[in-house]
């Protein structure tokens, strides 16, 4: 019994003696994973695609914020080729890189940074939040999965006191507000037209005719008309459901917008105005347009007109 206890004590001492080494090694791994990602960003900034490709595991994947999963190597290569001649001054400003070592050969790294670039003489920037899943083989880390989410930056000059600095709003909240803003602008416009004696129906027709002039004549219903309307509804409505679609027709369900309550406009007027705007555009695109109300939703049917 004594010797067993003695042995156990020896084992504990042995483990205690090892602890700093384990902790040190863990810290080393954390630092090296963070350095790996920092260096990856540097190569990215330099546009060094050949060295970048060496940083990926064979089966590396991109996971996009809207659920799409793509092979990392091929996607990056194709993006580089597409943007090679049009993008200049690409820069990455790192806000943070935090690595969690989940096993001796695996790290979960979260990063936040702002990337900026010039395209056709215009400067653009985006805020990126990323997660890298790294795996270690031998002495080197490789990227196994890269998830990223984009937002638009809210930047504060360094001279501004902390009490006046606020967080950037989530991009989904910005989109929601932008959608509401569009409906608010529409409500105010209808109200103004009404004041000068033009009904919501007439205003919708006039505005629709003007918008229609901006469209090219369609080369095909499926791509230009159906595809275009589906895309348009994604940016004005938080809910889009494709109920029916084929080569000559499309039926959609979108959530009905809410009228700005500070205006003298009814939901019915907003409905009529929009229906007339979109009818004019669809007409110009050689299609018919119908819209009905279904509770909190609008049901939209677009059909290709017979040739």
């Amino acid at each position: 019994m004594k010797s067993f206890k003695h042995l156990r004590m020896k084992k504990i001492f042995f483990l205690l003696a090892l602890l700093p080494a384990i902790a040190f090694s863990q810290q080393d791994l954390k630092t090296s994973a963070e350095e790996f990602v920092r260096n990856y960003y540097k190569l990215f900034q330099e546009g060094n695609i050949d060295l970048l490709k060496d940083k990926f595991a064979e089966d590396a994947q991109f996971i996009l914020a809207h659920g799409q999963v793509l092979p990392l190597r091929e996607t990056l290569q194709s993006n580089f080729e597409k943007n090679r001649d049009s993008i200049a001054n690409y820069k990455i400003e790192i806000k943070y890189i935090i690595a969690d070592i989940t096993a001796p050969n695996s790290a979960f790294v979260t990063t936040s940074c702002i990337e900026s670039w010039d395209r056709l003489g215009k400067t653009r920037s985006q805020e990126l939040f990323e997660i890298y899943l790294l795996e270690r083989t031998g002495d080197s880390w490789k990227i196994k999965k890269n998830y990223f989410n984009e937002n638009y930056p809210l930047v504060f000059a360094k001279t501004i006191e902390e009490e006046y600095q606020t967080e950037s709003s989530p991009v989904i909240a910005k989109l929601r507000w932008a959608m509401n803003h569009i409906w608010s602008l529409t409500s105010y416009e209808i109200e103004y037209f009404k004041k000068i004696g033009s009904s919501a129906a007439k205003a919708g027709t006039d505005v629709g005719k003007r918008y229609a002039q901006d469209f090219d004549k369609p080369t095909g219903f499926n791509e230009n008309v159906a595809g275009g309307f589906i895309w348009f509804f994604q940016i004005i409505s938080p809910y889009v459901e494709v109920l029916q679609r084929d080569g000559t027709s499309l039926t959609l369900k979108i959530s009905a917008p809410i009228v700005d309550k500070s205006t003298d406009v009814t939901s019915e007027e907003l409905f009529i105005f929009d229906r007339n705007v979109w009818t004019e555009i669809a007409n110009y695109l050689e299609s018919s347009f119908e819209m009905t109300v279904d509770g909190d939703y609008w049901i939209i049917t677009i059909n290709k007109k017979p040739e």
């Binding site: 996971i63 996009l64 914020a65 809207h66 659920g67 799409q68 999963v69 935090i98 969690d100 989940t102 096993a103 695996s106 979960f108 979260t110 936040s112 920037s125 805020e127 939040f129 899943l133 999965k145 998830y147 989410n149 638009y152 930056p153 809210l154 930047v155 504060f156 000059a157 501004i160 006191e161 600095q165 606020t166 709003s169 989530p170 991009v171 989904i172 909240a173 910005k174 989109l175 507000w177 932008a178 569009i182 602008l185 529409t186 105010y188 416009e189 109200e191 103004y192 003007r210 901006d214 895309w231 994604q234 938080p238 809910y239 889009v240 459901e241 494709v242 109920l243 029916q244 679609r245």
Partner: protein, 276 residues
């Protein structure tokens, strides 16, 4: 023992079954959540008020998992990526969101716990099952939708400016009319502070780049990416600036501030200073 994937499915089930008090048991003590604004926060502290609110507000929740991918990263850690549609009836309002969740899990005493949770949301595009595969559409990134939405709202304003210009009303006059109308809906009691905090929020959804250059209790200067005026509109860049300047001036003036918008060719610099 449950698989990591099984654990996440069970976690979602707790929401569907409204077991709000049981949900925190799924979190590691030092569990973290990366919020929608990319801020890293304590998971249990962040979820506490959310779950409390859910008790009275949520009558139904349905989580439809599209896919799940699991990476076992060690003997007791796993990362689960999942794409799901979340349909919530909150106080009678149905809200549907499309989500990509990333869960970093750790196992303690044979039980999985959430160590880090990152969720991104989008508004969904749903294809009815009867729609032929070749006609189904995928969703677009929320950032892309937002940028297009901003362009659309400026297109809308350009349409108005052009229409009234043709009727003999200048962009500046139109801005004054529109601005006075907007100003009438503002609560004057919130004063200069309310004006600036509202505009600081407003600029974030009317521009894809916002830089606060100056901010004190009496001054505010911001640089925002100006819209591109499409050539098809019969208006100039100056027309747009005149309209915006006058619209925002009317609101600011009503709230005890001046307002000056200048255009440097790519950005608009907006200065709002408190009137003495």
């Amino acid at each position: 023992m449950k698989s990591a994937e099984g654990f996440v499915r069970e976690y979602f089930k707790l929401f569907e079954e409204k077991k709000w008090d049981v949900i925190p048991d799924s979190y590691a003590e030092d569990g973290q959540v990366v919020g929608l604004g990319n801020k890293i926060m304590s998971l249990s502290e962040t979820m506490k008020p959310v779950l409390e609110r859910n008790k009275t507000e949520i009558t139904n929740e349905n989580i439809d998992v599209k896919w799940m991918k699991t990476e076992m990263t060690g003997s007791s850690t796993a990362i689960v990526y999942t794409h799901f549609i979340d349909k919530v009836n909150r106080s009678g309002k149905i809200r549907v969101t499309e989500n990509v969740g990333t869960f970093l899990l750790e196992q303690k005493e044979g039980t999985w716990k959430i160590k880090r949770w990152i969720n991104s949301q989008n508004f969904p595009v749903i294809n009815n099952e009867s729609v032929d595969t070749k006609y189904r559409v995928g969703n677009s990134p929320v950032s892309y939708k937002f940028a297009t939405s901003v362009n659309l709202s400026y297109g809308f304003e350009c349409c108005m400016i052009e229409y009234f210009k043709k009727k003999g009303i200048s962009p500046s006059e139109l801005g004054k009319i529109v601005g006075k109308r907007y100003a009438s809906t503002w609560d004057k009691s919130v004063g200069y502070e309310g004006l600036i905090s509202n505009f600081a929020g407003y600029f974030q959804f009317v521009s894809t780049y916002v830089e606060i250059l100056e901010r004190t209790d009496k001054t505010f200067k911001v640089k925002i990416l100006a819209p591109i005026i499409q050539k098809s509109w019969e208006i100039t860049r100056d027309d747009a600036v005149d309209f915006i300047q006058q619209t925002w001036f009317e609101i600011a003036d009503n709230m005890g501030s001046d307002c000056k918008v200048t255009d440097d060719g790519q950005y608009w610099i907006v200065a709002m200073n408190k009137k003495y």
